[in-house]
């Protein structure tokens, strides 16, 4: 049994103009020890998808799914108390805004130990020891003295590490990291990614990494799901998707990242012209067709998801499998 099963997850948000179909039928499964990267531009619905798994969507958002199961527990049917018991204990989340995601009124130590003391019967001392241990694990020096500090006394990089340590307090089975490195400079980004990968292997967690950065994906993930306008357009293992990117959007994304040794400094990166279409009201056909070079009449109809081999799937009418880039 997969640790996480998601089948046809949709998220609709009522707006002035009508119902916004932010996420339109996302399906995937995840096993323990796997890392799934959900890749997409901002507004693709990738962050909403991850929030939906934790049931932390804004209250006006409407979440539906044929299946949403975590370790056999039906999350769609679970009561509030049951979900609270899972959150922070067996499934944890690391947020992307290290500056605002910590409460300014409480010390790091308080905020770290809080989750553990909520879910386990431990003494204050034992909780502090665990917090110090994890802070050291995420590479924070003088960890014990940090416990008494407030978030505003720490740099963005430190806060992001604190957030990661916080997510690990109860040794969750699943950890969802939403752009854990965007706010950080490149060196720290690399450190934190390495750290996440190491910790994930060490604890045997399943990791969902939400990112817009394909470079990050190649380094950390085992599986990739490319998301566009609320749908998964291409999924597969990292090898499959990077080896033979097939969906025109995936190919466009790959062209837009610099390749060491091949992209000359100053050379303009390929960007995909055009914009993500509005998702208010009924959405038909391929949402990428206003930006796609291969768009044909059939693209306005229903787009079936096709198996390209192994675990590699895509939602596009094109027959040809893309060449390795």
């Amino acid at each position: 049994m997969a640790l996480l099963e998601v089948d046809r997850l949709t998220i609709d948000i009522p707006t002035e103009a009508g119902l916004l179909h932010a996420v339109g039928g996302v399906s995937f499964t995840l096993e323990r020890g796997e890392t799934l990267a959900i890749v997409g531009e901002s507004g693709s619905g990738k962050s909403l998808t991850s929030l939906a798994l934790m049931d932390l969507l804004p209250s006006r958002a409407i979440r539906k799914a044929a299946t949403l199961r975590f370790d056999g527990i039906d999350l769609m049917a679970a009561g509030e108390r049951q979900k609270e018991d899972l959150r922070g204990d067996r499934m944890a989340m690391i947020f992307q805004e290290p500056m605002t995601s910590l409460n300014p009124a409480y010390t790091i130590g308080d905020q770290l130990t809080e989750a553990l003391r909520r879910h386990r019967t431990v003494s204050a001392k034992a909780a502090r020891e665990r917090a110090v241990h994890l802070l050291e694990r995420v590479g924070i020096t003088a960890a014990a003295s940090r416990l008494g500090q407030y978030p505003h006394q720490l740099s963005g990089g430190l806060r992001q590490r604190v957030m990661i340590a916080m997510g690990l307090m109860c040794e969750p089975d699943l950890i969802i990291a939403d752009e854990p490195t965007t706010a950080l400079d490149v060196t720290i980004q690399a450190q934190i990614l390495r750290l996440l990968r190491d910790l994930q292997q060490e604890f045997g967690m399943a990791l969902i990494l939400v990112t817009h950065d394909l470079g990050v994906v190649a380094r950390v993930a085992t599986k990739v799901a490319v998301m566009y306008a609320g749908r998964l357009v291409e999924t597969g293992t990292v090898r499959e998707v990077f080896g033979a990117p097939s969906h025109p959007y995936t190919r466009g994304l790959l062209r837009s990242i610099p390749v060491p040794g091949r992209t000359r400094p100053g050379e303009p990166l390929g960007t995909i012209p055009g914009q993500v279409p509005g998702l208010v009201g009924d959405v038909f056909g391929c949402a990428f067709r206003n930006r796609c070079d291969h768009a044909a009449e059939a693209c306005a109809g229903a787009i079936p998801e096709r198996l390209l081999g192994g675990n590699h799937r895509m939602a596009c009418i094109l027959e040809t499998v893309g060449s390795p880039q």
């Binding site: 932390l56 609270e84 409480y106 879910h119 407030y150």
Partner: protein
């Protein structure tokens, strides 16, 4: 922290000093005091005698320093009208007004903060809307009218509470409601909006992601941050209440500072007026300082640089 306290204290002190100068000057600019004290029938010689007796012939700066030095020892001279020192008059009336103000503020906060929290949590629901209507009404009803209505209902018709005076705690109930009423809308709205902002913030999402129970999220993580601006507002509202106590004390015939100020103004009893202005301003400044301290305790960003 110490630096912060010192700085706030310095601000408070300089405001207090400014107020004392204004209080002193206002009266001296309101006309010839000697003439006012001696009365309209006094002869020029009598006026001159009064002028020397009260030290009104000295330069203004000297008069101010004399007055300030006295004020620091709680010596405000003698009342022009009452056969008592100003200090004795004020000391006798002050507890009534302070008790009234404290009860009124306490009541207002006790009603407004929970109401603001409930309104924010049920945003757009009927409680939120009812609270909004209550706010509009609260600000539209004049204090004296509310006071009189309370008297009619609870004292005259139901006979639950005494009509007027300040002998027992029961005498304070209606005046405190009348006085506190006005503060409820502002405090409630600030609490509500503060809670809405905070509840939408990333750290509340983090708190929920930890699986914390809703009451913990609400009271530990949200309220503490939302209430910071409310503390400052409460101090301001207490200042308004001290001013409003003039009306309330008149309606309920309570012998407090407000009532004394009312009498003193009518009788041109300037030392009394000055003393009251200075005292009320000092209390207000003291409260603002206290609010700064409470906020420093609530919000470490203020406390720990």
């Amino acid at each position: 922290m110490l630096l912060y306290i010192l700085r706030r204290f310095g601000v408070a002190l300089s405001v207090a000093l400014t107020v004392s100068i204004v209080a002193f000057l206002l009266l001296h600019l309101s006309g010839d005091l000697a003439l006012a004290i001696a009365g309209p029938e006094a002869s020029p010689a009598q006026v001159e005698q009064v002028r020397i007796q009260y030290g009104l012939d000295k330069p203004l700066a000297v008069q101010y320093l004399d007055w300030l030095a006295g004020a620091l020892h709680f010596d405000f001279g003698r009342s022009f009208y009452f056969r008592e020192t100003v200090a004795a008059l004020v000391a006798e009336r002050m507890p009534v007004t302070m008790t009234l103000g404290a009860i009124a503020l306490g009541l207002a906060l006790l009603v407004a903060i929970p109401l603001g929290v409930v309104a924010a949590v049920n945003r757009g629901g009927w409680i939120d809307r009812a609270a909004l209507v209550f706010c509009v009404l609260g600000q539209a009803i004049p204090t004296f009218w509310l006071g009189l209505t309370l008297i009619l209902v609870f004292a005259v018709n139901l006979r639950w509470l005494p009509v007027s005076g300040n002998a027992t705690w029961a005498h304070f109930v209606m005046p405190a409601i009348a006085l506190g009423w006005y503060a409820v809308p502002a405090v409630m709205r600030l609490t509500r909006n503060g809670m809405l902002d905070v509840l939408a913030s990333d750290y509340i999402r983090t708190a929920r992601a930890k699986g914390l129970r809703w009451p913990t999220v609400l009271f530990k993580h949200a309220l503490r941050n939302a209430v910071v601006p409310v503390v400052a507002l409460a101090a301001v509202q207490f200042g308004f209440m001290l001013g409003g106590s003039i009306v309330v004390e008149a309606v309920f015939s309570m012998h407090g500072l407000g009532h004394l100020a009312w009498e003193a103004i009518g009788r041109k009893d300037f030392p009394v007026v000055q003393a009251i202005v200075l005292l009320l301003a000092s209390i207000y400044i003291g409260l603002t300082f206290l609010a700064d301290l409470i906020n420093a305790w609530l919000d470490p960003r203020i406390r720990v640089a």
